[in-house]
Symmetry: C2
Subunit: 134 residues, 2 copies
DNA sequence: ATAAAAACTTACTATAATTGTCAAGAATAA
DNA sequence: TTATTCTTGACAATTATAGTAAGTTTTTAT
């Protein structure tokens, strides 16, 4: 999994937390999550064009989720960000003797990522607040 | 998953198939699997130093498995080849709000790769011979 | 009009992937 | 034993792609 997906999920997590009321600034998310603002601003483009988020330019602009956190799975986010630099399928063909290993792995990954949505992530994080932070 | 693991598994698969009697030539494997011989010869080094394969230099040299295919899991191979350029754990820390997503993914991947050994791959491939090839 | 923000363009850096050249070791034939 | 051939092994160089940074343009609320 590349940094695209990791940063992207952190970004979406921030929106799930803070964009209910008003759009959230890229700068603020980058700062809170310790991510390069410029790099993040590039990851955000496919998230926009896939319809997962709304963007607002100009003063008091920013980003917000396009729908409820519960309706957005981690798999959707990863698919959008990993995009055409896609993993196994394109390159491998079924005649390759290792094909079923990698397609099985693909399925295991997809199943797992599909089982988690943004609400879950937010919830897990709430729990962690009490468990990990002193 | 990078090409290192894919090529590496194809290489190990070839050894499982053909190295029972005598060492197998890198050249032959590269040719059969359509992999750059030079690139493959670099992937083979960590496989050697991790003890998964034996190498023999000189005339009638080549490579062979260090133990039975059944005793070698795909996870072992991937771990050796993906090496220090490791995936999630090093970079992410548990305070990151997306940590449990990626560590859970890591576990899902590990569990899957651990469940497959070289004998399985060989076996699956035997079946495919009859299913796919005309 | 002005200031705030995303969107766009360009360039740089690091790392993965690939290729090429030469050295070292081992079997074989004379 | 010695020459020869076959093979891996080590080192360097190149190309491609991911990751990062900076500056400019466009849009919009006030």
């Amino acid at each position: 999994m590349s940094t695209r997906s990791r940063y992207g999920l952190q970004f979406m997590f921030e929106l799930a937390l803070h964009s209910k009321e008003r759009p959230v600034l890229l700068r603020d998310i980058a700062e809170r999550q310790n991510i390069s603002e410029k790099y993040l601003s590039k990851l955000v483009i496919p998230l926009k064009s896939s319809g997962l988020i709304n963007t607002y330019r100009g003063a008091r602009g920013g980003y917000s989720l396009a729908c409820e956190p519960k309706k957005i799975t981690v798999k959707q986010i990863v698919d959008v960000l990993e995009g055409d630099a896609s993993p196994v399928e394109d390159i491998q063909n079924p005649l390759n003797p290792t094909w079923d290993v990698w397609s099985g792995l693909d399925k295991a990954i997809s199943d797992y990522l599909e089982s988690i949505n943004l609400e879950t992530v937010v919830q897990n994080n709430r729990n962690r607040q009490f468990t990990y932070v002193i």
